[in-house]
Symmetry: C2
Subunit: 555 residues, 2 copies
């Protein structure tokens, strides 16, 4: 049997566009010999639609879209399409479903059993759990339908109990010889290896073919990497689709040697780079923009952000803005211009000294009894944001924020200043990872890309004379592992200290992270590349009291 996996990049609620994509991809697959085709999870509306699917009119459009697709694909083979679905006209229950379209009508409807309600997932807010496992027969084979999370709780793989049910086991007990999985599984670094191991283990355990059709594209803060796959009944990978791009992969389950196995570059930096590029391209374009602005400081973060933007949108679409102050090093201009030349982007230079003086003057009567402090630094950052946003408003270009995850974590950033923008490209990339990414970029590209001086110089916000990040923060090599433990692993004070980190430093860092919650709550979306990003998957109170020390943790 030949199954077409339609690895598509929908736009949330663009029913017409999404269905046209499904139709075209299905046509291509059937022309290439597919017997039936599968879309990713919720392909008709795109994943995740969030609270939009609480709207009656949106659900009506989902139903119309699916019915319309059924009619349009009447002369194709069967098509399994992901969509929200209610079980009947009187029911208030909504399911995360897959409709089997055949002969111009909706032949069967299957639903998701396991509804994830953790991290970035909120599916119990919207969906009811499937009541019955879904198996259908086609070309003499029994095919079991699962949706994303349904394949994610095999106790033999995870070492857990699978208390919420094991859909694959149920389907195989019903006689399924092939498992289809419609997915929208968000990317994070290294996760693809896990998915591959997990699906291979599952297909071998149940002795079934397993086909995984994943969404691709950027969806606000989430990126989906595609890389749809097929496994044979021995758990061997027999086919795989492109990474970070749309693809139509026809899988021949009988003659697996005919299948395409796309090569996947799984180095961390390569994965991060591709995720940032796709995430940026889709965020900007799906927001209705074509052009972006990046404030160039001569530092690493703004350089890498500009490089991502150029790869995502093209150099003609990216403008660099240099806004030197009296505290800017000579290198800040020189290195920025070198970077801009390397990237082929145009720049503007707007010195801000006079604006700084104007603010100082107007605030002098109020500030006369106060010493200079971080306030004056924030004023500079906010002057720059005002200039950038003015250009954004006037020219219709989206401003990209350049802050990295380490800064965002400890609040080493100015709200309404350098945090301003439509998208924070590096918000989930720790500073040490930004360094690795820059090195990888320079190695990968065959021309000078990020100037070596930018990578070599010690990080500085250049907001006061001689300022260095290390005056305020620990070295990033020390900071980042602690941040990763606290934020990504959810480790406690005691657990982090037990790994040998300095308790005073750990306490200070945890306190800084907690105190910056209000800033992050007003930050632009970032592109999630780790297991735990700031944003939709991390819901924190702003007015909580959080104490991290031995006295409370041990009490």
């Amino acid at each position: 049997m030949r199954v077409g996996l339609l690895q598509l990049n929908p736009v949330i609620c663009d029913f017409k566009g999404n269905c046209e994509k499904i139709f075209q991809a299905a046509q291509m697959a059937f022309e290439a010999g597919a017997d039936f085709c599968v879309t990713p999870e919720l392909a008709v509306i795109g994943y995740p639609p969030d609270d939009l699917i609480l709207r009656e009119d949106i659900l009506v459009q989902c139903v119309h879209s699916v019915k319309d697709l059924a009619i349009r694909t009447k002369n194709f083979g069967p098509l399994l399409v992901g969509t929200p679905w209610r079980s009947g006209p009187d029911s208030t229950r909504l399911y995360n479903a897959a409709c089997l379209l055949a002969d111009g009508r909706i032949d069967k409807v299957f639903s998701k059993t396991l509804l994830p309600e953790y991290d970035v997932f909120y599916e119990k807010r919207y969906f009811a759990s499937a009541q019955n496992p879904g198996v259908f027969e086609f070309m003499g084979r029994k095919i079991g339908v699962t949706i994303c999370e349904d394949v994610w709780n095999d106790p033999d793989f995870w070492g857990q109990t699978g208390v919420d049910g094991q859909p694959v086991r149920s389907l195989c007990a019903e006689g399924a010889q092939m498992i289809i999985n419609l997915s929208a599984s968000p990317f994070s670094v290294g996760k693809h290896r896990l998915i591959k191991a997990m699906l291979g283990s599952l297909s071998a355990k149940y002795n079934v073919d397993l086909l995984f059709c994943n969404q691709v594209g950027g969806f606000d803060d989430l990126v989906f990497s595609g890389r749809s796959m097929a496994f044979d009944a021995h758990g061997r990978l027999t086919a795989s689709a492109l990474e970070f791009a749309e693809d139509v992969l026809v899988v021949d389950t009988k003659n697996p040697e005919k299948n395409r196995l796309s090569a996947h570059d799984l180095s961390s930096s390569s994965e991060i780079w591709q995720a940032l590029v796709l995430g940026t391209a889709d965020y900007v374009r799906k927001s209705g923009f074509n052009n972006v602005l990046v404030g160039l400081s001569g530092g690493l973060d703004s350089s890498v952000t500009a490089a991502v933007a150029v790869q995502a949108l093209g150099c003609e679409q990216v403008t660099g803005v240099l806004m030197p102050s009296p505290y800017s090093s000579p290198g800040s201009i020189e290195h920025s211009l070198e970077l801009a030349a390397n990237l082929g982007i145009k720049t503007h230079t707007l010195p801000i000294s006079e604006l700084m003086q104007a603010y100082d003057l107007i605030l002098a009567p109020i500030f006369k009894d106060y010493q200079p402090d971080v306030t004056e630094e924030n004023i500079q950052a906010r002057i720059r944001a005002n200039l950038l946003m003015a250009m954004s408003n006037k020219q219709g270009k989206m401003l990209l924020a350049t802050g990295n995850k380490s800064e965002m974590a400890v609040g080493y950033s100015t709200i309404y200043g350098d945090m301003a923008g439509g998208l924070a490209v590096l918000a989930d990339v720790a500073k040490t990872s930004v360094y690795k990414l820059a090195d990888w970029l320079n190695k990968t590209k065959n021309k000078p890309f990020i100037p070596r001086e930018i990578i070599a110089k010690p990080p500085s916000a250049e907001l006061r004379p001689g300022q260095m990040d290390r005056d305020t923060l620990p070295e990033y090599e020390i900071l980042d592992p602690i941040l990763s433990l606290y934020i990504e692993k959810g480790s406690s004070f005691n657990e982090i200290c037990a790994l040998g980190h300095d308790p005073d430093l750990v306490q200070k860092i945890m306190y800084m992270v907690d105190r910056a919650e209000f800033k992050r709550s007003q930050a632009p979306p970032g592109i999630r590349i780790t297991e735990k990003a700031f944003g939709r998957g991390r819901r924190m109170p702003l007015t909580a009291k959080c104490v991290h020390d031995r006295s409370t943790a041990d009490s």
Copy 2:
């Protein structure tokens, strides 16, 4: 039997402070003759703790706090205290529970059955559903324990089917003669009437005493109004606690005539006023601030925001900042100063003309081929934000944003400009409600409060010569009902038009609301006073395509 309802205002994760409050309140209640006492839902940690309760160390502190409370209240009567609770050491299941403390130990643990997962609630993200209804015997009576949502799905009251179970029915089937409800039920205008009717109906239906102990206070964007209540077995209200304040209410179920019935002022404006005052006071103080800044424009929103701040924090703690531009009307200064005098707050005046000129000058080369547009208006708003934030940073005062819900809805506001602040006091109050509130305030206060000129003049942002809100927006009397239907009721284009609203206008407004999603995603928290606020209860994609017109809605 006499039951002490401990209507408390905890701080999220302030275990020591929260337990001290519970102890003191319990002591007071037992001294006043209570036989046993009850706290609100999750009183040990405060509601909602959000993702903090995913942390192991936080859960450990909950357990320690409850055990410690048990020991400290050893000589009191039984105490039913709300806390997260795991069913056993090996279990990964967490419950939203009530621990019955008696004789220095945890005697029994009851759990919540119905876990809300809609609007502002995300309880299925954290909790498992109770397996067994909880009844205990005390002084010869069987008492059934419910938690918040557990009393919210009686099919006879709601006309629904109660498919997820009916905890009260189950408890009464087990012989419960009294129902206790530990609640943290967020305030919205008019909801208290509903709660009263619902609880009265339930107690009459099952012929049981029903005691409702509700949290009070501001928790980020949520306000809880307290107003704990007791109903007799005929559904009659026999006792009620204070509104928008902590209280200890001892309810005598045998001699209800001895109970206190606090008078509740249920006018909409009064409820909104009290919610905004409590929400502001708690947000500012729980964030560690005592003082606030308000930019005074001479308009209604900033005037009402300043009035709320004065009531919440005291006039000494509020500073008004006037930042006139060449486009400011003479009234903007005069009326602001009159307001400040009425409120007894100090002011600073910082004219921004020179800063505007400095920005114009620096941007002139880039903007030379463009016409003036909204960009120049945004620059002014962002200059003001920079000045206000500089004062905030320098003086440790929280900036309050002044925008109303109508503006926030249609995006008639400047991101990083007038939207800047730690808290947006009026973000859930429609402009027409702000007018009503101002009129109510002036009627209620026995001195001049909001100057009449401020209420009388047509709304204007004063960002260009002669600008009026009505040049860009429909009159608020027309706009607000459409916004309410779309945002609060979730009505579709067709449904709104069917009520007689102009289809072109409806389409335009829906489009404006959709387009402003990215701005709201970076807004400070507002104080929720309606059934549907922007913020935690409304999760919307930023890159969705949303079309509202007949062609799609009817297709």
